[in-house]
């Protein structure tokens, strides 16, 4: 005990030691309990969350024919933070890209303006939609490129080169869609048009996740927690369409070389049997790496193959409007089955007749002969049945009624309870519209808007609406919203037409006589009684459009069709035989008139329409 006075210093030393240890315990408390960022850091370090993409639902036609299925494809992804010491030249060689392209791609990935979800910690798409043969060499040498991964995907494969507009296609999701639906991550695919778009949510399935452990060098060390935390991907639901692929193929074939559309509907169910828009394209060209190149080519094609004319193009219905006019005018007491009007043929006024026939004509003959003066008189006596001028308010009320009953055939509005993507509204001109055009409520009357009586004025319809209006006629007064997905819930969407059933038989009579002795007599089909109406629509930009609407058979109709062939001339020449051939195939199962089929197929109305 030499330094007794110094003995107290042991307490100073003990205090120093204690203070340091207490500080360390507080520090431990701070980083282990108070702060959460270290936990997150650990997760992003060690867990590689690998997305498992579900196979997309398959698409079948109404008879169970497989239309769309999947084939494997591969994406190359990278995690910027993990890339180090890679031999860029050999990497580029194994992926068959140039070094300039490599640098450009990396630059685009890092550019937050182009890639808003960019993070150096998460996988980013480097190359997408590669074939197995494209990635084979890369896969063998992948260990040399830390930070690069191969991601399995599926791509669409099409059994037929047809129905592109119905099926739609798959493309990378846009930034807007990612913001709207947080299911998507940058680089995901989603349906872009048609059925693929409408039924995206059930077709896409649910993405799964696999949690892998990886070490500091990025090497995968196995599954985390033996895969107990993994979420398996659940496959998308398969979809059965209402389409009859045989009928669709025939319709597309008959439209070869022509611009226009064909829509066929099963009247009882509203199921769309065929939906053709020509020019079209092979859906498989919008798959894989060539997609954007091909897409741009289609976008710049002057014949607009990307546009779905069947639902988007709007035409004056012309004479195809007459059966509806006949029904509404009867309902409103403007005419009855015995009403006759005189026709002076070409010298009729204010609308001349394009056909020569006896005079006067009744309703049935007027439909058969497509007599313009008859329908002008019928229209006038309907909306001016209570006069005009002093009675202007009553006139306008009558006009409103006409509009309302006309629209009840599914015209002038989009089908909002169906599943068709990108429709146009069409147009049934309203009272308000004419008040505005003629600057006063009294500024117009039947004669002012007489073109509407024969479907030429301001009335506009889409081929789909036209086909649906025929389905409503065929059903004697109702229609089910036309749709593409074969399901029972769709059948409940019944819409009643505001025309009583008793007014239909005479229209049926008139329309069947069109085949027997009228404008479509050359297109009649033995043993099946068909109803139809041809139409020739004046077109200020060129030759007349040829239209046809019809249904068959007359008793218990199975198919209602609308056909538009742009710039073709007379309806009977082009559109009617297409209907006849389609009805034959659908009702009889095969075509006996192969000569007619070939002849129609070979007709070219627009030389710019490319063969597929």
């Amino acid at each position: 005990m030499i330094n007794d006075s110094l003995q107290s210093r042991q307490r100073v030393i003990a205090t120093i030691i204690t203070v340091v240890i207490v500080i360390y315990i507080l520090r431990l408390f701070s980083i282990q309990i108070l702060q959460s960022r270290y936990k997150e850091g650990a997760d992003s370090n060690a867990f590689l969350k690998k997305t498992l993409f579900p196979p997309r639902g398959l698409i079948y036609d109404r008879n169970g024919v497989l239309l769309v299925y999947n084939k494997p494809a591969y994406d190359i992804t990278l995690i910027i933070r993990e890339i180090h010491n890679i031999d860029t030249i050999s990497l580029c060689r194994s992926l068959d890209i140039s070094k300039v392209e490599f640098i450009e791609r990396i630059k685009n990935i890092k550019d937050r303006r182009k890639n808003m979800g960019y993070s150096s910690y998460t996988p980013q798409i480097f190359m997408t939609q590669l074939d197995i043969k494209d990635v084979a060499t890369f896969q063998q040498s992948m260990y040399k490129y830390p930070g690069f991964y191969i991601q399995n995907r599926t791509l669409r494969e099409y059994a037929y080169p047809n129905a592109a507009h119905v099926l739609g296609n798959i493309g990378e999701v846009t930034q807007r869609r990612i913001e709207k639906d947080d299911y998507y991550k940058s680089g995901d695919y989603a349906g872009r048009d048609g059925i693929e778009y409408t039924y995206e949510k059930s077709l896409r399935g649910i993405k799964g996740m696999e949690i892998l452990l990886r070490d500091a060098k990025g090497r995968i060390k196995g599954k985390y927690d033996n895969g107990k935390s993994d979420i398996p991907a659940s496959a998308g639901q398969n979809l059965t369409l209402t389409l009859d692929m045989k009928l669709q193929i025939l319709a597309e074939k008959l439209m070869t070389g022509k611009v226009g559309s064909v829509v066929a509907i099963e009247p009882k169910t509203g199921e769309i049997l065929a939906l053709v828009s020509n020019p079209a394209f092979n859906p498989s060209i919008l798959v894989g790496r060539q997609r954007s190149k091909n897409y741009n080519a289609l976008l710049n094609d002057p014949t607009k193959p990307l546009m779905n004319r069947a639902t988007q193009a709007q035409y004056s219905p012309g004479s195809a409007f007459k059966p509806l006019q006949a029904l509404v005018c009867q309902q409103m007491d403007g005419i009855n089955s015995n009403t006759r009007f005189a026709c002076s043929g070409e010298s009729s006024s204010p609308i001349k007749c394009t056909h020569s026939h006896g005079s006067p004509v009744d309703l049935e003959q007027a439909i058969e002969q497509s007599c313009n003066p008859y329908f002008w008189h019928a229209f006038r006596s309907t909306i001016e049945k209570d006069g005009y001028g002093e009675k202007n308010l009553i006139f306008r009320t009558n006009y409103d009624e006409w509009v309302d009953r006309m629209k009840s055939f599914g015209l002038g509005e989009k089908y909002t309870d169906g599943d068709l993507y990108e429709q146009s509204r069409g147009y049934i001109p309203t009272q308000k519209f004419y008040n505005k055009v003629y600057k006063a409520e009294t500024g117009w009357r039947a004669i002012t808007i007489r073109s509407n009586s024969i479907g030429q004025g301001e009335v506009l319809v889409t081929p789909l609406q036209l086909a649906n209006s025929m389905a409503a006629v065929a059903n004697n007064g109702y229609y089910i919203t036309p749709h593409l997905h074969k399901s029972d819930t769709m059948l409940t969407k019944i819409h009643r037409v505001k025309v009583d059933q008793k007014y239909f038989p005479i229209v049926f009579d008139g329309m069947s006589r069109v085949f027997e002795s009228g404008t479509a007599r050359l297109s009649q089909l033995d043993s099946v009684q068909m109803c139809g109406k041809t139409g020739t629509v004046q077109n200020p930009h060129g030759k007349d459009h040829s239209l046809f609407v019809g249904f068959a058979p007359r008793e218990n109709p199975k198919i209602a069709v609308a056909i538009v062939v742009e710039n073709a001339g007379f309806g009977s020449t082009y559109a009617a035989p297409i209907f006849s051939l389609m009805a034959e195939l659908y009702l009889k199962g095969k075509i006996t008139r192969t000569e007619l089929e070939e002849r129609v197929t070979k007709i070219v109305t627009n030389a710019n329409v490319k063969e597929r």
């Binding site: 650990a42 370090n45 060390k221």
Partner: protein
């Protein structure tokens, strides 16, 4: 035989228990840290845990043998052991192969050994012998020089082996010197130097005006002024003079700012001038009042100014680039997540992700997947933090605290100053290792690669610490032998 029986009573079994607990916990942690997903078991000889088991068994053997040696031998052979170790250190510099830039490992066949681990024990023994001699006085300059030599010699030799971390451990002996009578001012000055260094370096990038000085330097000068005023006001109780000094500082500051309107003043130099002028004022004042302590205050002030002035130079010229980066990362001046900051960041992530209860034994993802470098040696504490969480790491620190307190208690119960001085050497060295190692892992100490006693993987360090501890236990056990 009688000796063994007496040892049973004389040995401090508590310390032995702490030792065994720490060694076993370390072993389990090494198993956790080096665990592979396809590993067979803890006794796999090809794995580190298996090897560590061999080191542990041999360490127990060495410890047992050291207890059998007559306690007088340690005192008797202290200088001889020191000389032999120094010779070994010199030899090592020349024959050791270059392992990651360090030349500190002696490789003899399959075994490699680090003599620096022995140097701590040898120096402790030599210091104990020297300082316990009859005519030794710590205030005597004649004795301070050889004392310094005892410490400096191994320090320099280990620096030459490029093992800066191991060399710095000798700084810990200041704690022992403090217990043995060194002026406490020395410890305070070290703390002051660290604070000034950190302040100057941390804010050396923040410049004032047009490159007219740095925030760090001026803050350091203000700190010195504050110390002077604090001393005068609270300890020397010269209230009036403190006021005069404050007024003087204010006047000089305003004067500087006025001059600055016409001429760009270097504020660093201006603040130096102010500190020197106030220092002279206090000196003058002290002479008048016959206050001898004022000389010390003046010396510290001038020394601090000089230290601050040269700290930039020290930082950039004396420290190596990688050491500079480590300090910058520690001071949050750089965020180098791929380089020097990576280790510390990953180690914090590993510990932080453990939470309160930890992820469970062998469930740590960060350590298992090798995110933490040196995870079974210098960063072994990460494994504890990740797998056993807050309670586990706190428990380990608590056992270290118990061990250190126990050693202090043993030290104070010794009748011979040789034993006490040696015990304090052991406590200081263990404490320094613990403080630097755990502090580094927690990101509050610079990265200095020294092992955690008894925990880190490696035979040399385990043997080194075991030898130090068991010599102490043998010396302590001699209390009872002497009583008989």
């Amino acid at each position: 035989m009688s000796k063994n029986v007496s040892m049973k009573y004389a040995l401090d079994w508590t310390t032995v228990a702490y030792f065994v607990i720490l060694v076993l916990m370390g072993w389990v942690s090494i198993y956790g840290a080096s665990y592979n997903f396809d590993q067979s078991g803890i006794l796999d000889w090809n794995q580190r845990a298996g090897k560590q088991f061999v080191w542990i068994l041999t360490a127990f053997g060495i410890g047992g043998m050291l207890l059998l040696v007559d306690y007088k031998m340690y005192n008797f052979f202290a200088y001889f052991i020191y000389a032999a170790t120094i010779a070994l250190l010199i030899l090592t510099i020349f024959v050791a192969p270059d392992i990651k830039g360090s030349r500190s490992w002696l490789v003899i066949g399959p075994v490699s050994f680090q003599p620096a681990e022995l140097a701590k024990m040898a120096t402790s023994l030599a210091l104990a012998r020297f300082m316990s001699s009859y005519n030794y006085k710590i205030k005597n300059w004649k004795d301070i020089i050889p004392l310094g030599m005892f410490i400096l010699l191994p320090f320099i030799l280990i620096i030459l082996q490029k093992e800066t971390g191991s060399a710095l451990v000798f700084v810990a002996l200041l704690l022992m010197l403090y217990r043995e009578g060194m002026n406490g001012i020395v410890l305070l000055m070290i703390v002051l130097a660290i604070i000034l260094f950190v302040v100057v370096i941390r804010f050396s990038m923040a410049t004032i005006g047009v490159e007219q000085g740095t925030v760090g330097f001026i803050a350091a000068m203000l700190l010195i002024l504050a110390l002077q005023l604090g001393y005068a006001f609270f300890l020397a109780r010269q209230r009036k003079e403190t006021g005069y000094s404050l007024i003087g500082i204010a006047v000089m500051t305003i004067f500087t700012l006025i001059i600055n309107q016409w001429y760009n003043v270097n504020f660093n130099y201006a603040s130096i001038v102010i500190v020197i002028l106030t220092t002279f004022y206090w000196l003058f004042n002290g002479i008048l009042n016959r206050n001898k302590q004022i000389w010390m205050v003046a010396a510290i002030s001038i020394g601090s100014v000089f230290f601050c002035y040269s700290s930039d130079y020290l930082f950039e010229k004396v420290l190596e680039p990688h050491q500079q980066v480590r300090i910058k990362v520690l001071l949050n001046m750089e965020d180098d997540l791929s380089g020097a900051g990576y280790n510390v960041n990953q180690s914090k992530i590993a510990i932080g992700s453990g939470g309160f209860f930890g992820k469970g034994f062998l469930n740590g993802t960060q350590t298992k997947l090798k995110y933490v470098p040196e995870q079974d040696t210098d960063f072994i504490f990460c494994t504890v933090g990740e797998e056993h969480g807050f309670w586990g790491s706190t428990l380990v620190l608590f056992i270290y605290w118990l061990l250190l307190m126990r050693i202090l208690r043993i030290a104070e119960r010794q009748r011979e100053s040789f034993n006490r001085i040696y015990a304090y050497c052991v406590a200081s060295i263990f404490f320094f290792h613990l403080m630097i190692n755990v502090g580094m892992v927690l990101g509050i100490m610079p990265v200095i690669g020294i092992p955690l006693p008894f925990f880190s993987y490696g035979g040399s360090s385990l043997w080194g610490f075991t030898i130090m501890l068991f010599i102490l236990l043998r010396l302590d056990a001699s209390r009872i032998e002497r009583l008989r």
